[in-house]
């Protein structure tokens, strides 16, 4: 017993575990697949979007800076062409021109200088004391004299401050001369500084040698120097691809992943680099990832809680159904046992009955003879009479016992005969008529003419109709009504219907009425076996027992039993 309970417990535990596992697996896998797919797609498109945006930003700034330089260059060229050596060599005119330029373009121009072919500064307008300065050794001068115009890298020069110059070569009577303007380094740097995104995004310009041409706002000089390799990679690009915007992702000194966007400007001399930490550039994506993870976590927790609750409910129900089933099968087994015991008892009783009958008869015969014979008045005669009486008394006792046993077994005679259906039904109706009268039930019959006979056990069929008619009368017990018993033949079937005008059977009970031990009658009134026995009998006859019921209108039980046609029977 304990072992049995243990194995049942084990079964329910493993059932519980399996249900939980199934629910979790079935729910979590799609959740993970869907979430990761969505996140992956979102991440890819977000990356593309951010990259595009940064490229766009860098490209537009490159254009801006190019445009700025072009504009300054044009201004100086125009100045040189229009005013010529003679006038510009006059320092007062040059100062006047600088003032005009500063008036028109703000503080973009710091100073102006006019330099002859020998590298001597003939005239100077500006805040520094650079009059008569000698540039014959300056690198920029050599480059400037060799081309029509020249924009230098940033350098310290004579003034010792970072700046860059725009130089335009003009031709005069005494050969070439140069008009030079210094561009405000701070103003220029502002152009690049404008590119600021997030917490860590900044931009700067490098020249071909990898030297800074602007001051980065965050001054991560160390980074920039350390990251030279990455800049070098950009700078090493062949001139043909220099019009494009390059993108790279690398680790910086502090082991942070950075995104680098670079584009060449000033005809490939300078490189505008924008750099930002990945974590910063994709901060929104990380936030989304966090939200997704949190949501997924809560989803998982919800699934697990649901799985546990659901499995427990299911297991509880299964256990309940199981114990009900066990109880039911126990009942069925008990009933079966009782039936076999009954049959056995009936068999024994019947076999014993005959010998007992003979014994009783013999004793009776002896009694009869005793009356005839005239014994001597001795003690023996009295003893004989007593003994014979005793045999008869005990015989009668045996008879009582066997009859009780037989009535307990109460086995219906299952012998098959040809049964005249009309007679059988009429008899059943007559038997029930008295009861019906007390219940104010009117019984109507509707039998088709020429009903064929059935080869069945009449006792069993009687039992079925007795049950159905009694149930119908019970259904109308309070208010009376009409009970209709009909019989017709349809195809190879005899179809009987027992209808009442009672309260009907609720739909919930309709499926269960043929179940053994199901009864709605008060305790002690019904065993719940009647309809289930009827069902069994009709099934055994190869027929069908069906029920139709409407609440408040009544119930009809329909019995269909196949009959053999005379031609079939001859076969």
């Amino acid at each position: 017993m304990t072992k049995n309970t243990q194995s049942t417990d084990h079964y329910f535990r493993s059932l519980n575990r399996n249900i939980i596992l199934i629910i979790i697996v079935v729910s979590v896998i799609p959740l993970i697949i869907v979430s990761s797919t969505i996140y992956y797609q979102f991440r890819a498109s977000y990356h593309a979007k951010v990259n595009d945006h940064l490229r766009e930003l860098v490209q537009s700034h490159v254009q801006n800076i190019n445009h700025f330089l072009q504009e300054k260059l044009s201004n100086i060229r125009l100045l040189g062409d229009n005013w010529g050596w003679d006038r510009l060599a006059d320092e007062s005119i040059l100062k006047e021109r600088l003032a005009t330029l500063q008036k028109c373009f703000g503080q973009d121009f710091v100073d102006l200088g006019v330099i002859n072919a020998a590298g001597e500064q003939i005239a100077y307008a500006g805040p520094f004391k650079l009059a008569k300065a000698d540039y014959s050794d300056a690198e920029w001068f050599h480059k400037a004299i060799q081309s029509e115009f020249f924009i230098s890298d940033v350098f310290l020069g004579l003034r010792g401050l970072p700046h860059f110059i725009i130089a335009v070569r003009n031709s005069g009577e005494d050969g070439h001369w140069i008009l030079r303007a210094t561009i405000d380094f701070v103003r220029f740097t502002t152009l690049v500084e404008n590119i600021r995104l997030g917490q860590t995004g900044f931009a700067f310009i490098l020249n071909n040698k990898g030297e800074l041409q602007t001051t980065p706002i965050t001054k991560p000089t160390a980074d920039i120097i350390a990251g030279k390799t990455i800049y070098a990679e950009f700078l090493a690009q062949p001139p043909i691809s220099r019009g494009k915007v390059g993108v790279a992702v690398k680790l910086d000194l502090a082991e942070h992943e950075n995104i680098y966007i670079a584009a060449f400007l000033k005809n490939g001399d300078w490189l505008l680099v924008y750099q930002q930490r990945m974590a910063d550039a994709f901060a929104d994506l990380d936030k989304t990832f966090l939200i997704t993870t949190v949501l997924m976590f809560f989803g998982l927790v919800a699934i697990i809680i649901m799985a546990f609750t659901l499995s427990q409910t299911v297991v509880k129900r299964v256990a309940k159904a199981d114990s009900e089933k066990q109880l039911m099968s126990k009942k069925v087994v008990e009933t079966g046992k009782l039936a076999s015991v009954g049959e056995l008892a009936a068999g024994i009783a019947h076999e014993i009955n005959n010998p007992v009958a003979i014994m009783v008869e013999e004793a009776g015969w002896m009694g009869d003879l005793m009356e005839e014979i005239t014994f001597d008045e001795s003690e023996n005669r009295a003893e004989f009479e007593r003994a014979i009486k005793q045999i008869q008394t005990q015989g009668r006792r045996c008879k009582e016992i066997t009859h009780k046993l037989l009535s307990f077994a109460r086995k219906t005679d299952a012998t098959i005969h040809d049964v005249n259906i009309k007679e059988l039904l009429e008899e059943m109706v007559t038997l029930s008529s008295q009861r019906a009268k007390y219940s104010m039930v009117e019984i109507r019959t509707d039998f088709a003419p020429n009903l064929p006979s059935l080869r069945v056990s009449p006792s069993e069929l009687q039992q079925v109709f007795f049950n159905l008619i009694n149930n119908a009368i019970d259904a109308m017990d309070h208010d009376g009504g009409t009970l209709t018993v009909s019989a017709h033949h349809r195809d190879n079937y005899l179809v009987f219907a027992v209808s009442d005008t009672g309260m009907g059977i609720p739909e919930a009970n309709l499926n269960r009425i043929f179940d053994p031990f199901f009864t709605t009658k008060p305790v002690g009134k019904g065993t719940g076996l009647g309809l289930s026995i009827c069902y069994g009998i009709i099934e055994k006859m190869g027929g069908k027992l069906e029920v139709e019921s409407m609440l408040g209108t009544g119930t009809t039980f329909i019995v269909s039993i196949p009959f053999q046609k005379d031609t079939d029977r001859q076969h």
């Binding site: 019947h350 005959n354 009958a357 015969w365």
Partner: protein
């Protein structure tokens, strides 16, 4: 009244034999048969049998079947069924086919005698009525 002629039918030979002796001792004329078939044959020879005491359960032709055939051939003969079944079904069935009454085995001699006498009276009354009807018919025909 002449003593009734009773036929005992049962497959249990000792039972029939003893019962015969006991009934004979009570001034009844008794003949016996040990199967349904034999009973039908015997009755053909002794048409004046008044009452048949017939066991329901017998091998071969059972009591009900024998009863049906007997009643079909000799409707006036009264039959008392003997049954070992405590159920009334078989007895009722027998009575439906024309049996006079039923008794349960083993039976009380006084009870049996009572039933036999009743049945005989019924049969004799019946015969008397038929005889009277005959007489009336003869009288009316002859114009007395």
């Amino acid at each position: 009244m002449t003593p009734p002629l009773v036929m005992l039918v049962d497959d249990e030979v000792p039972f029939v034999e003893t019962m015969t002796k006991r009934l004979a001792k009570r001034d009844l004329n008794v003949i016996s048969a040990f199967s349904g078939q034999e009973a039908l044959e015997t009755i053909d020879k002794h048409r004046n049998v008044d009452v048949v005491v017939l066991d329901v359960k017998m091998p071969g032709m059972d009591g009900i079947e024998t009863l049906k055939k007997m009643k079909a051939a000799y409707p006036l003969i009264e039959v008392v069924m003997l049954t070992a079944h405590a159920t009334v079904e078989s007895a009722i069935e027998g009575m439906r086919f024309g049996a006079f009454d039923y008794l349960m085995k083993p039976c009380d001699m006084e009870q049996l005698m009572g039933k036999v006498n009743e049945a005989t009276r019924k049969k004799r009354d019946h015969e008397e009525k038929i005889r009277e009807a005959h007489v009336k018919e003869i009288i009316s025909k002859r114009g007395f």
